[in-house]
Symmetry: C2
């Protein structure tokens, strides 16, 4: 037989949200946009269908130019990925060798650990503190072998965030030969005013890359498109390790149009804000034994004080799919996407029934 690399056996399979099989099942498991996709994106995709026999542009330049303008950077500061997870893989491919260390939080998005192990580096874990990224804890664990630091802000699955001041003091105290990856997949949903302006570090020439996605607010999870913003040198190396045609034509078409779909963006944010308030109200009252975290994202973290896997099954039989956080290292907690009003109500009713 052909022997795989040692690293392969240390990789854990990704545990995705379950997809509904029946029509009436409500899926609140993967933080997709419950309003659907940006309608402008759908129109633009239809317009460009006739060109799908042609290879896409290697660097999705149409989209990267638009994003450069939006963020007031050069398009040499931008890389487009087949989802931002592909950019995480490029970071590992460009920078990690055997023996390098990568700082990763516990109870966060699993792909950070996956790409680290894929390139033979060692994850060094930092615990959450009050369900929030512990930046001083990261600083303490960094050292000579550190190459990448992954920060998820707001964090999935807890929905918590660290502030601009916290990030400033972290950045001031770590050496500049690490690359700090700030995954801001849920940034657009944040309501707190002290959310970091992380692009500031890119403009200052720091080794920081900011990752964003079209999978959440813009409703394009099924098309796969994310982007990274960093100084030219980092982008140059990421382009060197990138397969040429990773991002498909219709993803670029959809993203270009969605970026400009103000009405859909406003509707999505309003729905999220109202859903959040409704859930806070329901979860915060009543006689049940649970805790939850206030969220800066489009989902809410709930500690059920009992096996999440079992509650997951019971909720599914009530027609509601949520994400049990066992694979995130939190076996008593769940993450629930904020849905449409009727979906949120259905979730609360089901939860009341099964708890």
């Amino acid at each position: 037989m052909a022997k795989p690399r040692d690293a392969v056996n240390n990789l854990k399979e990704y545990t995705p949200g379950k997809n509904p099989e029946g029509q009436k099942v409500v899926k609140l498991a993967s933080n997709e946009n419950s309003l659907g996709a940006s309608p402008k994106a759908l129109v633009e995709i239809k317009k460009r269908l006739k060109n799908i026999n042609v290879y896409p542009d290697q660097y999705s330049r149409e989209l990267s130019s638009l994003l450069a303008t939006k963020y007031n950077v050069s398009d040499k500061n931008l890389i487009i990925g087949n989802g931002s997870d592909e950019i995480m893989q490029m970071l590992a491919a460009a920078y990690l060798s055997a023996g390098d260390e990568v700082l990763i939080s516990r109870n966060t998005f699993s792909t950070y650990e996956f790409v680290t192990r894929l390139f033979d580096a060692n994850p060094v874990f930092v615990d959450l503190k009050n369900y929030t990224y512990d930046l001083p804890g990261f600083a303490k664990k960094s050292g000579d072998k550190t190459k990448l630091i992954f920060l998820c802000n707001p964090n999935s699955p807890t929905g918590t965030m660290f502030s601009g001041a916290e990030l400033d003091s972290f950045m001031a105290n770590i050496p500049d030969n690490y690359i700090v990856v700030i995954d801001e997949a849920y940034a657009e949903y944040v309501e707190r005013e002290d959310y970091p302006d992380s692009l500031k570090y890119v403009r200052e020439g720091k080794n920081v890359i900011v990752l964003r996605t079209f999978s959440k607010l813009y409703g394009l999870a099924g098309l796969r498109v994310g982007y990274g913003i960093a100084k030219e040198e980092i982008i140059k190396y990421l382009k060197m390790v990138k397969l040429p045609f990773g991002v498909n034509r219709l993803a670029v078409a959809g993203a270009v149009a969605a970026l400009d779909d103000k009405s859909f963006i406003m509707k999505s944010l309003k729905n999220n804000k109202e859903g959040k308030e409704y859930l806070y109200g329901e979860l915060g009252t009543g006689n049940w034994k649970l805790d939850f975290q206030k969220t800066e994202a489009n989902f809410i973290w709930i500690d059920l004080k009992q096996s999440a896997d079992q509650v997951f099954l019971k909720l599914m039989s009530e027609g509601v799919i949520i994400r049990p956080l066992t694979s995130f290292g939190m076996p008593n907690a769940i993450r629930v996407t904020i849905g449409l009003p009727e979906q949120n109500k259905k979730f609360i009713a089901a939860l009341k029934k099964v708890l």
Copy 2:
């Protein structure tokens, strides 16, 4: 600064076919389907647009089941990739470590070398023989360090193929701890009857993976979908190194429908056969100094006996984009996609003018 891995500096950037900027330019540079995309694919994509806010299935199971039925294998023998180049990268990620050797032909698809270097392995090059893959040459260069062998059949850019008998005798004489990757991106265009039945080796449990794509005959290059067929053990390891959501929903929709679009397939094959005969006729007569190879694919290789880069520029100013093969190590040759009848005529007229 943050230092990239040593391997990164050995990676060559992919040289894509140039995309036309004007409307009247004919692109015969990337072996796309000149008839466009499968019309059935377009219909199916439109139908499924409303679901693009939902993450795709991790393993594209709908498509892999269909392919399993088509090829009479289990869907455990199938992996779907974001283009077959993503599967090449998975093979490298699963099997290659520093110091391993990978056998690669000269004058072939550049991604084999790219993924080899990305995972710190060493390419060992084998020359073409009469513009064709030299399988005995591969056998001679294989050894203890060999892990992967990449075979492109028919070969891009020469359009030549090796036969089933040649592959049989090669397979009989190499040890079974190498993985033989047979890239059959152009298989559907082959007319010769002695083309290998490479799935035979998969069924026999050999370490072989057969790669195919929807980018060529099915006209879906812009969507990114390819697949690999191998024994369960290999597929299992590839799934372990795969990012979860690489293949987008609309690619799966398009591929599922295109697979069944017999009328488009027949039209495409007929156009290719007729275009090929026309080009043979034109290139084989007249007073020009050139050679060409009979092709089993949807493109034709032409030796111009002069700088291809310069002829490329001249042809472009005549409104025809072809692929100069400098980046393939053949600076005097070009690769020309077989187009629609009027495109082929335009190419021949332009070539006559500039030579």
